[in-house]
Structure formats: structure tokens, C-alpha cells
């Protein structure tokens, strides 16, 4: 799932849970799923390995790029 979709799913689940209309079983499932998504999103945001800018060469090769 893309990050955007995760965020969107989270928003949907939260508003469903906040409406209080979900059954207990369902809400527990949804909560569990949402918390997993939260964890995944959190991880994606915090796992900042140093991203190097790339240059896509004409032959399709990708090389590191540093702006002068």
C-alpha cells in the first residue's frame, strides 16, 4: 500500500471508530489494523537513511548526483 493510501485508510478507520457505529468485533479488528498502519507509517517516516540524489543518464543508468 502506498503511504497516501495508508494515511487515507487510517483517516477512514478513525472516523468510523469515532462515530461509534461499529460492532465490537469489527472495531477491534479495525483498531488492530489501524495501529499496524500507524506503525508502518511511523517507520517509513523515521527510517531516514541518507537519500542520495540521482541523475538518470541518457543510457538509462542511474548515478549518484551532487549539485555543485
Amino acid at each position: 500500500m502506498k503511504f497516501e493510501e495508508k494515511i487515507k485508510t487510517l483517516e477512514t478507520i478513525i472516523s468510523e471508530l469515532e462515530s461509534g457505529n461499529t460492532s465490537l468485533d469489527e472495531s477491534i479488528n479495525k483498531y488492530t489494523k489501524a495501529m499496524e498502519l500507524v506503525k508502518e507509517c511511523d517507520k517509513e517516516l523515521k527510517d531516514v537513511e541518507e537519500k542520495i540524489s540521482k541523475i538518470v543518464l541518457d543510457n538509462g543508468k542511474v548515478e549518484d548526483f551532487e549539485a555543485e
Binding site: L10, G20, S27, L45, K51, S53, A67
Partner: protein, 396 residues
């Protein structure tokens, strides 16, 4: 009357004034061609105008032959020549000796023309504009590999959203071959399915920015499936690319800010979600708990025996009914028995004795006729309350 001149005399005088003035002999004008007529002999007649005024112009075929472009209506030109008066009409006009295109003026015209055309073709239509994804992972940049633009973009993205990857498609951005190169690179980036594409360059003269006003570039932007942010020049420069792009940024830095969110905002959002999730699930379980408690407290569950009360009552009622029915029957029976007893008593011989009658026995046989006894027989006479022994002393 000698003070009065003929028109011809006066016009000739004026013409002489024009023709002898060095200022009039070397005139340089810039303006827009209108009312253009090219005579079969090769002479060119037209007007030069700007927003405020207008002057007639003609170019002899001997001069027109040297033109390196074809004059057109509306074209911006730079002309040099002499200004004189045409006697027959009395009009002054410029006799053009050289004429060249006014680069900047024509670029502007071309820009307006193309803008109008593309707008009519729907290239700027809002419905066609794609949303810029909120959290892109792959950001393509079509710009020069040197210069401020790429530097600004990289540093802005690294600062705001360091988890995104930046892919540079190094492109010519001005001069010969730039438009083709920009088109080619937009297509490459589109094929590599970037999440978002920034197309642009730093500020410059209108000629420098010109490739971004080219029709092919406009179509490449329009045709791309990737959302595109245009970032050409500084604030005041609008290009055709800006109108076609899904989003227009005033500068490359602004484009980078549009392309990515601020990571700390996103982290805040996620944390907020976590809090809301926990709150809502807690609230929900509390509600369910309350519902359960309410059920547990229900009267029937607390007093299950109450369910039997009705049945018990029925049973009691039935029992009572049966008992009373039985009693009624017994009473009836007793009454009839009493009747029978009464009747029986009525025919009981002993009862007759009670009324004063008696029974006479001889040797335990009842005497019912005088013939059965004789004098001196010992008889027993039974009364109601005892027996009398007696001797017959006579018969009557």
C-alpha cells in the same frame, strides 16, 4: 491676396523642410505592421503603429528585395528610413530602407498567440489538471544539472522531506535544442513513473526562458501521465509551461515545497492518529461495557424466579377451583344421603314403636293374629325402649 499660397506651393515648402532636415533623413522607428499591401511590382505599402499612434510607410522593391523575412500583418519590426511628404496627398510617410524583425516584440506576440491557441485547444483546462500526490517517494526533476535551480530543489526537499528520492533528468534549458531536450526528458521521466515531476529552470531573460513557451513543450507537459509542477524563473515570469502544468510554482524552491510535505507535520499527523485511535477504541469498549452492565442489571436476570410467578398463580387458582368443585360435589352427595336416611327412618319399624306401637313375639315369632295364641302363653312385647314379658289371661 498676395499673402495667400496655393496648397501645392505650401506642400512643396513643407516637403522641402522635411527633405532638408537631417533628423528626417535618418529616422529609426519600431512598431507593428498593419494594413500591409505588397504590390506586384515588389513595393510594400503598410502602416507602422503602436498603442498611441500610426505612420504610413512604404518600401521600394529595390530595398524590399534585401529583406531576410516575409513581412506579416501584426509583426513587430524595426525600420530605418527617411520621412517625407507625398505631394499628391499631402501625407507624410516613412520611406523604409531597412527593416528587421523586432525579436522581443515578436516573441511577445508569439507568446500571446500560442497562449490563446492552446487555451482554445483546452491545454490549460482545470479538469485536465492532476493532483500532486501528498507523499511522493520518487521526485523527478527536469532541469539543467548545473545552476541554482537543481541545487535549490535538492536542498529544499532534503530539508523538508528527506525520505524522498530525487531523480534528475539533466536537460538543456535554453538556446538551440533546448525545447527538444526538455520534451525528451519529460517523456523519459514520465516513463520511469515518477510520483511527481518538477520541470523548470532559474530566472533569465525572455529569450532564455523561451523553450518553456514552445508548443512542443506545452504538449509534452499536457500529455504526461505524471503530475507536473512547473518552476520557471522568478515570480514575475509566466510561461506557457506554467499554464499547462498541473501546478505552477514561482521558483524552483517553491516547486520543491509544493512537491513534498514537511516531514515533521506528517509525523505529527501520525501521532495524532494514534491518539485518536486509542481514544476511540477505549470509548467504544466503555460504551459496550455500559451496555453489558445495563443488561446484567436487568430485572429479569436479577429475579429469574419471577418468570415462574405467573405459572404458580395459575396453579393455585386451578387447585382452588378443583377443591371447591370437589367440596360442592361432596355436599350434594351428603344432602341426598340425608334424604335417603330420612326416608329410611320413616319406614323403620322401631320408629313406629316410638310413636307408642309395640310388637308382640311368641317364641321369637311375631304374633300378627290372635289365633296364634292361647290362654297362658308367655308373650314378649317389644316397646321402643325395652321388652315386657307377659302372660295371656284371656282373648277377646
Amino acid at each position: 491676396m498676395d499673402n495667400y499660397q496655393t496648397i501645392t506651393e505650401f506642400t512643396r515648402y513643407l516637403k522641402l523642410m522635411f527633405d532638408t532636415s537631417s533628423k528626417m533623413r535618418n529616422v529609426y522607428l519600431k512598431g507593428e505592421i498593419s494594413n500591409l499591401k505588397i504590390h506586384p511590382t515588389g513595393h510594400i505599402y503598410f502602416s507602422l503603429k503602436d498603442e498611441g499612434s500610426k505612420i504610413g510607410a512604404m518600401m521600394f522593391s529595390s530595398n524590399a528585395r534585401n529583406l531576410n523575412f516575409k513581412p506579416e500583418e501584426g509583426m513587430k519590426v524595426l525600420v530605418s528610413g527617411r520621412v517625407s511628404i507625398y505631394e499628391a496627398t499631402g501625407n507624410y510617410q516613412i520611406y523604409v530602407s531597412t527593416m528587421e524583425e523586432d525579436g522581443l516584440g515578436n516573441l511577445y506576440l508569439e507568446f500571446e498567440k500560442l497562449k490563446k491557441k492552446l487555451k482554445e485547444e483546452g491545454l490549460f483546462s482545470e479538469e485536465h489538471k492532476k493532483d500532486i500526490p501528498k507523499y511522493p517517494k520518487k521526485i523527478g526533476v527536469v532541469t539543467a544539472s548545473t545552476g541554482a535551480a537543481i541545487k535549490d530543489i535538492i536542498s529544499t526537499i532534503k530539508r523538508r522531506y528527506p525520505i524522498a528520492n530525487i531523480y534528475l533528468y539533466s536537460s538543456l534549458v535554453q538556446g538551440e535544442g533546448a525545447k527538444e531536450d526538455i520534451v525528451r526528458n519529460i517523456k523519459r521521466a514520465d516513463k520511469d513513473s515518477m510520483d511527481v515531476l518538477i520541470v523548470g529552470r532559474g530566472g533569465g531573460s525572455i529569450e532564455d526562458l523561451w523553450p518553456f513557451n514552445e508548443e512542443v513543450v506545452a504538449h509534452a507537459i499536457y500529455d504526461a501521465a505524471t503530475p507536473i509542477i512547473s518552476a520557471v524563473g522568478h515570480e514575475i515570469d509566466f510561461t506557457i509551461a506554467d499554464f499547462v502544468a498541473d501546478k505552477r510554482a514561482a521558483t524552483p524552491t517553491a516547486a520543491a515545497e509544493m512537491a513534498v510535505p514537511n516531514i515533521s507535520d506528517v509525523i505529527d499527523t501520525i501521532n495524532n492518529y494514534k491518539i485518536r485511535l486509542n481514544e476511540s477504541i477505549n470509548k467504544l469498549s466503555k460504551i459496550k461495557r455500559l451496555e453489558l452492565d445495563k443488561l446484567k442489571d436487568s430485572y429479569i436476570l436479577k429475579n429469574p424466579l419471577i418468570m415462574y410467578d405467573n405459572k404458580k398463580q395459575n396453579l393455585i387458582n386451578l387447585t382452588e377451583k378443583i377443591t371447591s368443585l370437589m367440596n360442592y360435589n361432596i355436599n350434594n352427595t351428603r344432602i341426598s344421603i340425608d334424604h335417603i336416611i330420612e326416608k329410611l327412618e320413616l319406614i323403620n319399624p322401631l320408629m313406629v314403636l316410638k310413636r307408642g306401637y309395640s310388637v308382640t313375639y311368641l317364641n321369637d315369632n311375631i304374633v300378627n293374629s290372635i289365633k296364634n295364641i292361647k290362654k297362658d302363653d308367655t308373650l314378649k312385647i317389644k316397646l321402643s325402649d325395652g321388652v315386657v314379658s307377659t302372660k295371656v289371661i284371656g282373648k277377646e
